[in-house]
């Protein structure tokens, strides 16, 4: 934005508030077309640069003379008062370009008071913003924590549900298999019987063959002596030898002992 303002110095209209009012000098200046804040910045710069006295000897105010319009330069009035004359607060009216402008300078005390009030308000707003921001952050953090916990709980519930589903399926399978009558036909049961036979075998027994048929055990033994030293199962020898010198012994399942009694 090029700064080519139309500058001229004009004396203020005669003071209207009182004969002792300070003299107000007015300059009109023009800011090139642009955004309102850019025009205001250019005008402020021009007001400072083109001050009739050093800046530490005057105070000034800027007034826009016309409302902002796009593509149009902005016209401003810069009103200057000697600092030593504007010791207290005062108000005056000046005529600029056919318009009456009210110029109101505050006293130093009032400016300080306003600055303090503005500072306190800014602090309060910052504190409230900090608290609200912290509260929002905490709320979002809490939301994240709850979501995480909920996800863990859901996963645990899913695992439990899968376990229950598997259990339900096993229960159903067990019913099906029981219907097939295979509860006693597991290899674990067969191995248990085989282990019993191995441990119960008499030291001098000579077993040629071991038969496990649907839970019943039969052994082919050389000689007529009982093949098992343990008597916790019923062992019955066939009446006739299977082969010459070889006898077949039948052993009842373990639970049959309760019903059959000792051999």
């Amino acid at each position: 934005m090029s700064a080519a303002p139309d500058l001229f110095l004009a004396e203020a209209a005669p003071p209207q508030s009182s004969p002792q009012s300070p003299t107000v000098f007015v300059r009109t200046l023009s800011a090139p077309p642009g955004a309102p804040w850019d025009q205001a910045r250019v005008a402020a710069l021009e007001a400072r640069v083109g001050a009739p006295l050093p800046l530490d000897e005057v105070i000034y105010q800027l007034h826009r003379l016309e409302s902002w319009r796009p593509g149009q330069p902005g016209r401003y009035a810069a009103c200057y008062v000697r600092t030593e004359e504007a010791g207290g607060a005062f108000q005056s009216k000046v005529e600029v370009a056919g318009r009456s402008i009210t110029v109101r300078f505050l006293s130093a005390e009032e400016r300080n008071r306003r600055a303090l009030r503005l500072g306190a308000a800014a602090l309060a707003v910052a504190a409230v913003a900090f608290l609200v921001g912290g509260a929002f952050t905490s709320a979002l953090s809490l939301r994240s924590q709850i979501a995480d916990r909920l996800t863990v709980v859901e996963q645990t519930a899913t695992v439990k549900a899968r376990g229950a589903q598997a259990e339900e399926r096993m229960h159903q399978d067990a019913k099906f298999l029981d219907s097939e009558g295979v509860r006693q036909l597991t290899l674990a049961a067969a191995l248990s019987d085989l282990a019993w036979a191995a441990s119960a075998k008499a030291a001098d027994a000579h077993v040629d063959a071991y038969h496990w048929d649907h839970g019943r055990i039969a052994v082919e033994v050389r000689g007529e002596t009982a093949p098992f030293a343990q008597i916790d199962r019923v062992a019955v020898k066939d009446d006739k030898p299977l082969r010459p010198g070889v006898w077949l012994w039948g052993i009842e399942p373990a639970k049959a002992l309760n019903h059959a009694g000792p051999p």
């Binding site: 979501a147 909920l150 097939e180 036909l185 040629d208 038969h211």
Partner: protein, 174 residues
């Protein structure tokens, strides 16, 4: 003095009201933000699922002789898988494995469409290797059920003749 105090009251009361309302709105907003979407619905679903699962688990028994996946799911693939598993188990125990055969049975629709698959094989080798083979098969899934096990003593080895069954499902299951 009275006018000034009245003016202060005129400002303080609306300011406090606005502050209170703002705090209440902020509280509600924060409460809404801190809750994940559909929290109540998800919790209710979790409670429902957990309740159902606990009911099922409470009536489950622990004395079942059956393995977790006792029934096979694919009857067509079962014979090949079974042969591979038996050959592998026999080889790992140093047994000679032979005469493997399977015979599919008719599905029994009355008990959930279970199809029995009869199997038989022979193996020979050391006695403890035969017992190890049977122990490995006892843990195999689908579960193998024994109909007949014959062990014949040879000079220094044992000949095993095994016949048994597995069961496969012909219908979609859980």
């Amino acid at each position: 003095m009275m006018r000034k105090r009245r003016a202060q009251t005129d400002v303080v009361v609306p300011a406090l009201t606005v502050a209170g309302l703002s705090a209440a709105v902020l509280y509600l907003l924060l409460s809404l933000i801190s809750r994940p979407p559909d929290l109540s619905g998800r919790l209710a679903q979790v409670e429902r699922n957990t309740g159902e699962a606990e009911q099922v688990l409470a009536r489950s028994s622990t004395d079942s002789p059956y393995l977790a996946h006792a029934i096979c799911e694919d009857p067509s693939a079962a014979p090949i898988a079974l042969r591979q598993r038996l050959q592998s188990a026999a080889a790992s125990t140093g047994l000679t494995f032979s005469n493997f055969s399977t015979t599919p049975g008719a599905p029994d629709e009355a008990i959930g469409g279970l199809e029995p698959l009869s199997l038989s094989f022979e193996a020979s080798g050391r006695y403890d290797a035969v017992v190890s083979l049977l122990g490995a098969l006892a843990k195999a899934e689908p579960q193998i059920f024994a109909d007949k096990i014959d062990l014949k003593s040879q000079t220094s080895t044992v000949a095993l003749t095994f016949s048994g069954r597995i069961f496969c499902s012909t219908t979609a299951r859980l």
